[in-house]
């Protein structure tokens, strides 16, 4: 039971990262800030746990990383979606919406 929840959370984080990167390439801290901001600080995950997700996505070929310079002039690693990542993001987004809509219906009607 615990393992399933972990898997789901892990998968969800990957989905969120993909969604955030859909608009433009970002570095790790920017992604973490964006998640926090968009969820109105609802998702308070340890920012360090973002990196396994990013490296996992890179290994799968969904994102690619490049060193760049931040607005404040610091050297950081920027992540951008690959074509496969973009496709994956769209697919996961659609699947999530269907899934949450179904849960929503059950919650309301059930």
């Amino acid at each position: 039971m615990g393992k399933n929840r972990m898997d789901m959370l892990q998968g969800t984080l990957d989905l969120l990262v993909l969604r955030i990167l859909l608009t433009k390439s970002r570095h790790g801290y920017e992604i973490a800030k964006r998640i926090s901001m968009l969820s109105s600080d609802l998702f308070k995950v340890g920012q360090g746990s973002l990196y396994p997700s990013l490296h996992r996505l890179e290994k799968k070929g969904f994102v690619k990383a490049e060193w760049g310079v931040t607005d404040t002039g610091r050297k950081a690693k920027f992540y951008a979606l690959t074509d496969a990542g973009r496709k994956q993001a769209e697919e996961e987004k659609r699947a999530w919406l269907e899934f949450s809509a179904a849960i929503d219906i059950i919650m309301r009607e059930g």
């Binding site: 801290y29 340890g46 920012q47 746990s49 490296h55 799968k60 070929g61 610091r74 690693k77």
Partner: protein, 889 residues
């Protein structure tokens, strides 16, 4: 695809680990610094901002570990560590590693070499397209079972004209002729073929083209080279088509080169040239001049039996026109017959099949000995590692993790073993295709690397399974309950120990019995050949040899002109240095291609097939018998008065007397090849056929000058004085000076004997190699195995010594317990041999398969070797001081 991508990423992360780690450090540092920058911008102090950032980021070490997991390099890293450990182990236990590598190399190398050799040389001798539809057409006789023999050109022409069962048909006539590129000619095998054979084989030349029917009809001098000849004589040059080859002094243009491994006939030739059919070869009296092999491809929709029916019908048509032949055929069952090309060799030489199974069995036994050996060594080593495994398991290592490490260790060993195996395979191939294997069939075709793959993989897999099972033993021996016991002294007692001892005994007994069996078989084969070769041949072989002449029609003519040349040559030869006498003959004794015939006795009613003896025959000059030292039993030898003008006479061997009827043999008239000959002499039986042919030694001798067709291979028998090697050199010089154009080949009796005993010699070489290896394997295996057991029992030895046992008592105890196992192995091996002795008896004609001397000698040799292998570790163990033995590592 995604999986491969992940593997690639993991490997990249593993090999570029340093860079990856540095980048990860920098990336996380930047992240935290950006958080700090934000905090400072919000008005926090640098220190407060950093504290907050560190809190929100979480544990950096854990985050990094998780990232490393995500890279997937951790498994590779674990494997790498195991590999490094295995590498160290390999050198730490040098004797053990060397034993395993040796066993692997010998067993897999020998097996792959043997199996691929057997498959290529005997099972799949023809490399044709769709070989299952290619057949050999020839003559058969009831007495010869399924064998199909060569036929005549006249028969071929009739079959070719009337047949409908084949889509293509052609024939090959193999001859030894003078072949040269530009240097001195060599007497080599050449295929004279019709253009039809290329259609039958369906194989296209590697370079150039094959000859056409038009070229054959025009008698054009063109040649298609074999791959081997192209490589050896022309260095594999691509411009070979612009070059020529000289055959019997004539220049032939090279028009093609056949692919590697291709051969028209079972015995590989160096090249193929068009066969121009001469007028005389189409004469009716040449119908039984059998010397060609017809090959044909079955037409689509035609089965083997359809084709056989058609051939039988064709032969019946011929018999209807010849009442004499019909009468003879009714008696002998002579007919046209077909046999699939793939089965041709086995049908021709059924003895090969026995040899084949024997060799496969011996090779499999050696593989089994190897497996026993490896299993024994690994179990013994496994037992010595029980404390180590127990300790690691007690410290929390999972069984899977330890098993993984064991697998890695053995994979490394196996990998190294395979490298050695490839070298060993080449070594054994060299042994089995070397000049000592003889130039004649059945072995002689080269084996390509690709043909060795399947047997190599099979043998390696068998060994791998044995390794797998035995190497994991310590992991299973140390069950959870015995962990503590296992590393407290390395002695697991109880049921597990008992079953392990039984397994060890089984392995020792097993390999001893298999080795014993192989050794006895070798002894039997060895004595069989020795006794066969020591038999009285009925003629002298010392100081005698044959010279095979190569006399092409275009230069030496045909018939009388040709024979006169041979007679002149034999007469001139008597003046050559060291030559005492020379006599023309048309075959050398034990010639590999004997032509068997039959005869009738005038005035005697020949009722059944048994009344017709199958005999071999010579056409000789009158001094032949005297030269060969053949004893006269009755009547007289030939003399100079027996010539073309006088009455036709014959000398028969003694065994033929019983076919002559009641009247005296001398003076009887024999009807042979539609001619009548009067018997003037009876001589002792002589060994005339190759040993592998189970034909009785019935021989007829005719006067060569009383025959006019003399197209057979001319041979001159020579008696000489002095050393053979010296004689050969001087004779070669003399011939080259007197007739530089003459093509000839010296055939010594050593060579004739060697070829004649090919069916005994080949298995002997194979089985001897097997037996020698089995002794090496068994003694090495026993030594290694018992060394480990002695090491394992050093505590026992230490305690015994501490209790007052002498070195002698300890050695005796160890010898006694292991000698019993060796003894049991010897009894089992010898019993198995006795059990199958009737089967062995079929292959052994000159020795009893139950010969007690051979059994005793084989068992003694093995017992002695085993004794040494057991004694060394026993003595070493006993000589060790008690305190050293009792010390815990």
């Amino acid at each position: 695809m995604r999986f491969l991508l992940s593997i690639g990423y993991a490997l990249g992360a593993f090999f570029g680990r340093g860079k990856k780690e540095t980048e990860l450090d920098e990336e996380m540092r930047t992240h935290i610094q950006l958080m700090v920058d934000d905090g400072v911008a919000r008005g926090l102090s640098e220190e407060e901002a950093r504290k907050e950032a560190m809190r929100e980021f979480g544990n950096v070490v854990i985050a990094k570990e998780e990232v490393r997991d995500a890279w997937g390099a951790r498994i590779i890293h674990g494997f790498w560590k195991d590999l490094k450990f295995a590498w160290k182990q390999l050198f730490k236990t040098k004797a053990y590693s060397a034993s395993i590598l040796l066993i692997l190399g010998l067993c897999v190398g020998l097996n792959s070499s043997i199996f691929s050799g057997i498959y290529n040389n005997l099972v799949k001798p023809f490399d044709f397209e769709d070989p299952e539809t290619v057949v050999v057409v020839g003559k058969s006789w009831r007495a010869n079972g399924d064998a199909v023999f060569s036929t005549s050109i006249l028969s071929f022409l009739e079959i070719e004209e009337q047949q409908e069962a084949f889509s293509s048909i052609g024939f090959i006539k193999q001859e030894n002729i003078d072949v040269s590129r530009d240097a001195k000619p060599k007497n080599l095998k050449v295929d004279y073929a019709t253009a039809g054979v290329w259609g039958v084989t369906g194989v296209s030349p590697l370079i150039g083209r094959a000859f056409t029917e038009e070229e054959v009809a025009r008698g054009e001098k063109v040649a298609v080279l074999s791959y081997g000849f192209w490589k050896s004589e022309y260095g594999g040059a691509r411009d070979v088509l612009e070059k020529t080859v000289r055959l019997n002094g004539e220049t032939f243009a090279i028009i093609g080169v056949m692919p590697r491994g291709f051969s028209l006939m079972f015995a590989e030739s160096v090249l193929a040239v068009p066969k121009v059919i001469a007028e005389w070869e189409m004469r009716e009296d040449q119908r039984n001049n059998n010397g060609i092999i017809i090959i044909a491809r079955l037409a689509e929709g035609t089965s083997l039996s359809d084709a056989q029916h058609e051939m039988s019908a064709l032969y019946q048509d011929y018999l209807e026109q010849d009442s004499e032949a019909k009468k003879s055929a009714e008696r002998t069952g002579e007919n046209y017959a077909i046999v699939p090309a793939a089965d041709f060799t086995l049908k021709m030489y059924p003895e090969i099949e026995t040899m084949l199974y024997g060799l496969q069995g011996a090779a499999a036994m050696l593989l089994l000995i190897g497996c026993f050996n490896i299993a024994g060594l690994m179990l013994a080593r496994g037992a010595s590692r029980v404390p180590e495994v127990g300790l690691r398991m007690a410290l929390g290592a999972g069984r899977l993790r330890i098993a993984g490490q064991m697998v890695t260790e053995n994979s490394l060993l196996f990998g190294f073993g395979l490298i050695g195996t490839v070298l060993m395979t080449d070594f054994f191939n060299y042994i089995f295709t070397g000049p000592w294997m003889g130039p004649n069939p059945p072995i002689g075709r080269t084996v390509g690397t690709e043909d060795r793959v399947a047997p190599f993989v099979f043998s390696a897999l068998v060994i791998l399974i044995a390794m797998g099972f035995s190497s994991l033993a310590p992991v299973f021996i140390v069950s959870g309950k015995r962990v503590a016991k296992s590393f407290a002294g390395g002695r697991v007692t109880g049921a597990s120990s008992g079953s392990r001892n039984r397994l060890q005994s089984f392995l020792i007994v097993g390999q001893i019995s298999l080795s014993c069996f192989l050794l006895i078989c070798t002894g039997l084969f060895l004595y069989n050949v020795k006794n066969s070769m020591n038999k009285d041949f009925g003629y002298e072989t010392d100081g005698r040899m044959a010279i095979e002449l190569s006399l092409p029609d275009y230069r030496y003519g045909y018939g009388l002109e040709r024979r006169q040349f041979q007679e002149r040559f034999a007469s001139r030869l008597k003046e050559a240095p060291m030559v005492l006498d020379a006599a023309m003959s048309y075959r050398a004794p034990m010639d590999f291609n004997p032509i068997m015939s039959s005869f009738e006795v005038s005035g005697r009613e020949m009722l059944s097939e048994e009344d017709y003896p199958r005999n071999t025959w010579y056409r000789v000059q009158p001094n032949f018998h005297e030269l060969m030292g053949i004893d006269l039993v009755d009547g007289r030898f030939f003399n100079d008065l027996d010539n073309s003008q006088s009455e036709s006479v014959v000398i028969a061997s003694k065994s033929l007397i019983r076919y002559m009827g009641e009247s005296p043999a001398i003076g009887a008239t024999l009807k042979f090849w539609d001619r009548e000959f009067r018997v003037v002499g009876i001589v002792e039986d002589t060994r005339d056929n190759p040993h592998l042919m189970e034909e009785p030694d019935h021989t007829l001798f005719f006067v060569a000058s009383q025959w006019d067709q003399t197209n057979a291979n001319p041979v001159v028998m020579v008696r000489y004085s002095g050393e053979q090697s010296d004689f050969l050199k001087r004779l070669a010089m003399w011939i080259d000076q007197n007739d530089p154009e003459l093509g000839y080949k010296f055939v010594t009796f050593d060579r004739l004997l060697s070829d004649s005993f090919i069916m005994e010699r080949l298995p002997l070489i194979y089985v001897s190699v097997f037996a020698a290896l089995s002794i090496i394997l068994t003694s090495c295996g026993l030594y290694g195995f018992l060394s480990y057991i002695a090491e394992q029992k050093k505590m026992d030895v230490g305690i015994r010594k501490a209790m007052g046992a002498s070195n002698g008592q300890i050695i005796l105890h160890m010898l006694k317990s292991n000698s019993l196992k060796v003894g049991l192995g010897l009894v089992l091996g010898a019993s198995f041999c006795l059990l199958i002795s009737s089967g062995l008896g079929q292959a052994l004609k000159e020795v009893s398969p139950k010969d007690p001397f051979i059994y005793l000698a084989a068992c003694s040799l093995l017992a002695l070797t085993s004794f040494v292998a057991i004694a060394i570790p026993s003595v070493r163990s006993a000589m060790r001081p008690a305190m050293t033995s009792l010390r815990m590592d």
